[in-house]
């Protein structure tokens, strides 16, 4: 038993070192901008850089738009498939997994080919059109995470019976979605939203090839031209991702608890 514990701790320590050492190294390096002492100069330089503010603000706005569109698309779809078309679930699972298999560069070249200025829907012809295209691209990239989070939430409740109970009390579809289903999968929706936020904030390929001023291309630009600032940006990006993960943990404590089911 004791020996088992030793090996468990050993592998845990190796794992922790594997993940933490590069981070600690990066963090330590980001503090060395001022010669001879540790300082937050690199962070100051990054945060007060107008390009950082602009690109970060842009990516936050894109992330919020992606979350809204993603939720509006995925919640009703996942709900309807669970309720009325359960045999279609494997198809939906497959479709939502495709963005993990198809590289973003293939997706973005497909977009450029389909929606260029000489196409029937020239979205890339204007900045707003390209923003919309980019946002839909982000919706596609976040689909595997958003769908799984929401589907897991729906699995935890008896969707069919709750829907019928609400219908028998006079509720229509909008009321059922808004007052019964959504509040009961709200934590799952938030989990999906935080994952989407983390993905969009660091995304590079779509934004760079669609030439939009997002945070990902800014990270790449700074990384190619500066020494300490990229390390600071990497730490900030990690902090945002971890912050999102922590928020998922926090909000999951406030999820409505399903009552004990009869057996």
């Amino acid at each position: 038993m004791k020996q088992n514990r030793f090996w468990s701790f050993l592998f845990l320590a190796i794992g922790v070192l594997y993940f933490l050492l590069p981070l600690i190294g990066t963090f330590e390096f980001s503090l060395k901008m001022r010669r001879g002492v540790y300082s937050l100069d690199a962070y100051e330089a990054v945060i007060f850089d107008p390009r950082f503010q602009a690109t970060f603000g842009y990516s936050v706005m894109m992330a919020l738009a992606t979350i809204v569109v993603g939720v509006l698309l995925v919640v009703p779809t996942a709900y309807w498939v669970r309720l009325k078309l359960p045999s279609w679930r494997p198809v939906l699972e497959f479709v939502t997994l495709l963005p993990l298999v198809i590289p973003p560069i293939v997706i973005v070249f497909g977009y450029i080919r389909l929606y260029n200025t000489s196409s029937w829907l020239p979205l890339t012809g204007t900045a707003m059109g390209t923003n919309i295209l980019l946002m839909f691209g982000y919706v596609v990239l976040s689909l595997p995470y958003m769908y799984r989070a929401i589907d897991t939430g729906l699995r935890a409740i008896d969707v069919g019976t709750l829907t019928e109970a609400a219908q028998s009390l006079g509720a229509g579809w909008i009321t059922i979605m808004w007052r019964v289903i959504l509040p009961n999968v709200f934590v799952a929706v938030l989990s999906g939203a935080f994952l989407t936020f983390a993905i969009v904030i660091g995304e590079f390929v779509l934004a760079a090839l669609l030439n939009r001023p997002a945070f990902g291309p800014y990270l790449q630009l700074i990384g190619a031209n500066r020494a300490y600032e990229p390390a600071a940006l990497a730490v900030i990006a990690f902090a945002i991702t971890w912050g999102c993960m922590a928020l998922i943990q926090v909000v999951s404590r406030f999820a409505p608890r399903p009552p004990a089911q009869p057996h």
Partner: protein, 355 residues
């Protein structure tokens, strides 16, 4: 019957090639409590869901309060439904659940508060308004589900096996409570169950269903004592079936293993030598000769089960094994297996199973 409040006419329901309800007709009076009783897969829940609007009938109509509701959606029918799985909304408190239907109907907040209070009084959970469903026991959840279904004053209350998930003691107390509340409010109720005891104890009338058809519709007394078919006789209560042969149709005599019985004019019109199935409830058979009982046969006691206040004895008569119940008498010991015994019964208690 006065004008029916709920009227089901020629309803048929098929899922692909499988017919689950066929030629179903039923009239329910206002304030009546009707149970659909039958084994799993007999179509009782499907029929209830057709009344609720969750299933569309392949043919036939459903009228509620004189209005054809067959084409209406469930949320347009003004029905209340209680489910086996409770189906309380986990994100709402007990008060929120009970007030949901009223809120959906756009009632003012003061009216909702007062009606929720009334309902909480009715189900005796006055102090539970702020609790969440996960903080309640199964019985309490089902009482809340009942209050929630009744709060918007539905025209018809539909109960889909609401007691099946509860333990035996709660089930008995809750069924009495449901019946009392139903009588107090005078609400027309359709109750689905596979438990004959529930159906017999709660209902004004019972519809016994089998293979998608209503085998018999009647009061609990009629269903138990005068079953119309072999299925009803076998499904409701315990039944001893004895195969016999008609010896004299005019005199009404039938020969069975161990003797002959007279069934009066109930085999009139049939032929001598024709096989006939006779049935007797265990409580209609007595051990030994009894005054006023015209049926008497001999058999051998095979099994004696002491059930407390009642002793169930199994007696072999020819090839048939008959069960009979006798009250426990502390002064006399129960019979012993292996003994020869006479059993007596009244031929008027004997049922003739035609189909």
């Amino acid at each position: 019957m006065s004008d029916p409040f709920l009227s089901i006419r020629q309803v048929r329901k098929a899922f692909g090639p499988t017919v689950v309800v066929q030629e179903f007709n039923l009239d329910v009076k206002q304030g009546e409590f009707v149970s659909f009783l039958g084994p799993s897969g007999c179509g009782k829940t499907t029929m209830l869901r057709i009344v609720a609007g969750f299933e569309e009938p392949s043919a036939g109509t459903v009228n509620i309060g004189g209005k054809d509701v067959t084409a209406l959606k469930p949320n347009q029918r003004n029905i209340g439904m209680v489910f086996q799985a409770y189906a309380l909304f986990p994100n709402m408190t007990v008060a929120g659940n009970i007030g949901f239907g009223l809120k959906v109907a756009g009632k003012p907040a003061t009216e909702i508060r007062s009606r929720v209070g009334e309902m909480l009084d009715l189900i005796k959970l006055q102090d539970f308004g702020n609790r969440y469903p996960y903080q309640l026991s199964g019985g309490q959840q089902q009482r809340v589900a009942l209050a929630r279904a009744m709060a918007p004053r539905p025209q018809v209350l539909l109960l889909d096996e609401p007691l099946s998930a509860l333990d035996a003691k709660v089930r008995v107390s809750l069924r009495e409570e449901i019946r009392a509340i139903q009588k107090e409010l005078g609400i027309t109720t359709v109750f689905v169950t596979h438990d004959q005891e529930e159906a017999l104890s709660m209902s004004d009338r019972i519809v016994v269903m089998y293979n998608g058809c209503a085998e018999q519709v009647g009061t609990p007394f009629e269903i138990y004592n005068r079953p119309a078919t072999r299925f009803v006789a076998g499904f409701v209560g315990t039944l001893n079936v004895i195969e016999g042969t008609i010896t004299d149709p005019t005199a009404g005599t039938v020969s069975i293993a161990g003797g002959a019985v007279s069934v009066g004019n109930r085999v009139a019109g049939r032929k001598a030598g024709e096989a006939v199935s006779l049935a007797l409830r265990p409580e209609a058979i007595a051990l030994g000769r009894r005054e006023g009982r015209d049926g008497l046969v001999k058999g051998t006691i095979r099994e004696v089960s002491f059930l407390g206040s009642v002793i169930r004895v199994r007696v072999a008569v020819g090839e048939a094994l008959l069960s009979l119940d006798t009250f426990n008498n502390p002064a006399s010991p129960p019979p012993v297996a292996g003994e020869t015994a006479e059993i007596s019964f009244s031929s008027s208690d004997m049922l003739i199973l035609d189909r």
